[in-house]
């Protein structure tokens, strides 16, 4: 059983975003690098005439920058920003609350929410922004 709303599955497989957080998917983002912001921040991009900061999901998950890929533009309580990932693979329903495991999965960051077996892990955007690397660049 699924709750209303949906997920956008990201590549590499096993990660997803809530569609409600999504603004736009940009296939070949032009990102102006700003190194001093921290390793997980790639730089700045133009989103419909507004500036947004762009982070790299590869660095946040595995410590390695994403090569190529797409940028998903995301809205958050602290402003819009971009997240570069290898790609997007489609939409799927949000798992129901009663299907979620009780405990977070060991070793994963807080912002990767627990998921039932076989389901992608949902990135909680507000928790992601609390990640020390995103917040301070360190």
């Amino acid at each position: 059983m699924s709750t209303p709303g949906g997920l956008l599955e990201l590549l590499p497989e096993g990660r997803a975003l809530r569609q409600d957080d999504l603004i736009q998917i940009i296939a070949e983002p032009l990102i102006a690098p700003v190194v001093g912001a921290g390793e997980c921040w790639r730089g700045l991009a133009n989103l419909r005439g507004a500036l947004i900061g762009v982070a790299d999901l590869g660095v946040l998950l595995d410590g390695y920058p994403t090569e190529g890929g797409v940028m998903v533009a995301i809205s958050s309580s602290r402003g819009d920003f971009g997240l570069v990932c290898e790609g997007v693979s489609g939409n799927r329903d949000l798992p129901a609350a009663d299907e979620l495991p009780d405990e977070p999965m060991e070793g994963d960051p807080d912002w990767l929410l627990p998921s039932p077996p076989g389901e992608p892990r949902v990135i909680d955007i507000e928790l992601l922004l609390e990640d020390e690397r995103m917040r301070t660049g360190r």
Partner: protein, 698 residues
């Protein structure tokens, strides 16, 4: 039958917010007018100041009525009556001026209370009665038909709240103004930016269509006729779009600018009140109020100036008796002067008071845990005075009503930093304190040099760039600019902007902050554009080197390099104390040395200079010969006799020359002697560089 318009609560609250902004401007006009009227009634009348004040009181009355703020309506009306009466008199009594100020304070308190501030404890009836009595009026209630001078009839009573009375002279549509919030203007700016990006996109697409059509028509040998039609269809509307976008952009940016007078006009009142409360005599000198600045800059500058002026009187300028005992004029001088250079603004708040109490600041810094006592003991005076810029710093033992609130200079500093501005402070014990605020004139539209590094565009604000110089091959570590050595920015810095590497730089942009110059290497120079710059967006963490960015017309992101952060790579330049009793010579020498890259402080005679030198952090002295109190040779001898100062380079420059003076200068211990004039202009910077080596050149 018409009914009076009665706004609902929500609308009334919105109207009150707008009214509060308007009231602030009118109160400033009235306040500065009262100061002028009190100081010189004849001049104030002759210059139309009283008429201006009556119009302000009248506007306030009408607007207060529109938002149903009856107490303000009544006080404004009574104040207008008093002003009308004063306009017919040759002298203004101190009591009348005090009454006027009390009326303004009452209105301010009522407006604040109406817009969410603390409740106002104001005796409206009492103030109105006193105002009417002073005006010789019978205190009739205000009427809807009242008009400001010169043809103002006596207002008639009106039993009902009436729509806002429109002051004469403001009724024409050509004079109409409307208040717009900065946030709304910012959204308008963003919309214009998108329009501009769209325009470039359309322009590009049109170019391709035209080229394709021309190529096809050429093949069909019908080029001229059909290409002409296409050009007519595309170029005409495109040209109009270009012009409209440009005009719209200019107008929106212009709408953000306001004169500095809005920040300067409250100062005379603040000075008058505070000087009176503290028993000081203060002469306020103001210059540069006509300079236009961005509204966002004004919002930071305005409270900052009031705070600095209060600080200067509360902490700086001494009582008349103390000044007399110190050999100073009983009245202290407080000058607030603004100057615009390129797109930068500098406002100097200088007093001739006692200077900052270094020991008190040092003790407070230790007590507040900002520094340990061992470190504090090693610091010189100029380092210690900078503690007053630290958050929540106050040397007052108890919180005073004036400026010892511990909120102030730090807030000034933070507000300016957010605008890419800064604060400098210098103080000389016994002689006074100068605080300089540096800020951009414009936020919304800034002229930038667009260069290229590592394949990406990178911007330097035009006002921070001194020149562009072709770079020789081989990546030298410096360039020579006007005979001076300017170091290149490090590879580490360039790596922040071009992490994937960069090609061979072909040019350097020589960038200067207030005191230092550095050469920024780039691969190419694209253009100079006027752009709407923005701070880096949240949630991206702050980056010192890139504090703002812009979107280029083609949609590319331009990172704008912060000149101060770039120059911070370099050590601070040497600080020179220039001593001369001639203001003209001081200014001439200051310009010469600043142009050569030195930090310059000035002193009007040897005694003040010696006190400043003992405070520390001066690297060399350039002094005149003939001066009051202590001449240049006495100063030189005193420096050589002081164990802390004896190795300080001293250069004497004098209008008189000759071997005799040269001999006296050498005998006193001067390191060099120059005649003022061409010789000094040519050789002074060079000589200082030699005397200050092995310190790095500025």
């Amino acid at each position: 039958m018409s009914r009076a318009f009665r706004p609902d609560d929500e609308l009334r609250q919105q109207l009150l917010e707008i009214f509060a902004g308007e009231a602030r401007d009118e109160l400033d006009t009235l306040s500065s007018g009262l100061v002028a009227l009190e100081a010189d009634p004849q001049a104030a009348l002759g210059s139309g100041k009283v008429d201006e004040m009556m119009r302000a009181a009248h506007s306030l009355k009408g607007s207060a009525r529109a938002v149903e703020l009856e107490p303000v309506d009544r006080i404004s009306h009574a104040l207008e009556n008093l002003l009308r009466a004063e306009a017919g008199r040759t002298e203004v009594s101190g009591e009348a001026a005090d009454l006027g100020y009390r009326a303004l304070d009452a209105i301010e308190a009522i407006v604040e209370a109406a817009t969410g501030g603390p409740p106002a404890d104001v005796n409206v009836a009492g103030i109105c009665e006193e105002l009417n009595e002073a005006a010789g009026d019978d205190g009739e209630p205000s009427g809807r038909g009242a008009e400001p001078p010169p043809s103002a009839p006596v207002p008639s009573p009106s039993p009902e709240p009436a729509p806002a009375a429109t002051p004469a002279g403001d009724s024409g549509a050509h004079n109409a103004t409307v208040r717009v919030s900065v946030a709304k203007l910012d959204r308008l700016v963003a919309a214009v930016r998108e329009l501009e990006t769209a325009r470039v996109g359309v322009e590009h697409a049109t170019g391709i269509i035209t080229e394709e059509a021309e190529a096809a028509d050429l093949a069909a040998r019908r080029h001229d006729e059909r290409a002409g039609v296409i050009r007519e269809i595309t170029q005409g509307p495109l040209g109009r779009l270009q012009r409209a976008a440009r005009e719209l952009s200019d107008d929106v940016n212009q709408a953000r600018t306001v004169p500095l007078s809005l920040a300067f006009d409250p100062l005379p009142r603040a000075v008058r009140d505070l000087a009176r409360d503290l028993g000081r005599e203060v002469e306020l000198k103001v210059s540069g109020r006509e300079i236009d600045v961005d509204r966002a800059v004004l919002e930071v500058i305005r409270p900052a100036l009031v705070h600095l002026v209060r600080n200067a009187i509360d902490h700086g300028i001494e009582s008349p008796a103390m000044r007399a005992a110190a050999g100073k004029p009983e009245a202290g001088t407080l000058s607030v002067s603004a100057r615009a250079a390129g797109s930068r603004l500098a406002i100097e708040v200088a007093d001739d008071g006692a200077g900052i109490d270094g020991e008190a600041v040092q003790a407070k810094a230790v007590e507040a845990g900002l520094v340990d006592s061992g470190e504090a003991a090693q610091m010189d005076y100029s380092e210690i005075v900078r503690f007053v810029l630290r958050p929540a710093f106050s040397t007052r033992d108890s919180v005073s009503e004036i400026s010892g609130r511990g909120v102030g200079l730090d807030a000034v500093f933070e507000g300016l930093a957010a605008l890419q501005g800064s604060v400098d402070i210098t103080s000389v014990p016994g002689s006074g304190t100068t605080v300089t605020l540096h800020a951009p004139l414009a936020i919304a539209a800034t002229e930038c040099i667009i260069a290229e590094l590592g394949g990406y565009p990178v911007g330097i604000v035009l006002s921070a760039a001194e020149r562009i110089v072709p770079l020789e091959e081989g990546r030298p570590d410096h360039v020579q600019v006007a005979g001076r050595r300017v170091p290149l920015a490090s590879e580490e810095t360039m790596g922040i902007l071009a992490p994937a590497g960069h090609g061979s730089p072909a040019f350097v942009i020589v960038v200067a902050d207030e005191t230092r110059r550095i050469a920024f290497p780039v691969e190419a120079i694209r253009s100079v554009l006027r752009l709407n710059t923005m701070p880096l967006p949240s949630p991206l963490p702050e980056v010192e080197l890139v504090r703002s960015a812009a979107i280029l017309p083609d949609g590319e992101v331009l990172r704008i390099v912060d000149a101060r952060a770039l120059a911070a790579e370099l050590p601070p330049p040497p600080r020179i104390l220039l001593v001369d009793d001639s203001e003209t010579q001081l200014e001439r020498g200051r310009r010469l040395l600043v142009a050569a890259g030195y930090l310059v402080e000035t002193a009007p005679d040897g005694a003040i200079a010696l006190a400043r030198l003992k405070a520390g952090d001066v690297d060399a002295v350039v002094t005149d010969f003939e001066m009051p109190e202590m001449d240049g040779f006495e100063l030189t001898r005193a420096v050589r006799a002081d164990t802390e100062l004896k190795t300080l380079p001293v250069v004497v420059w004098s209008a008189s020359g000759g071997n005799e003076l040269f001999g006296i200068a050498s005998e006193a211990g001067a390191d060099a002697f120059f005649m003022k004039g061409h010789e000094a202009s040519e050789q002074l910077p060079e000589t200082l560089e030699r005397l200050l080596s092995p310190r790095p050149a500025p």
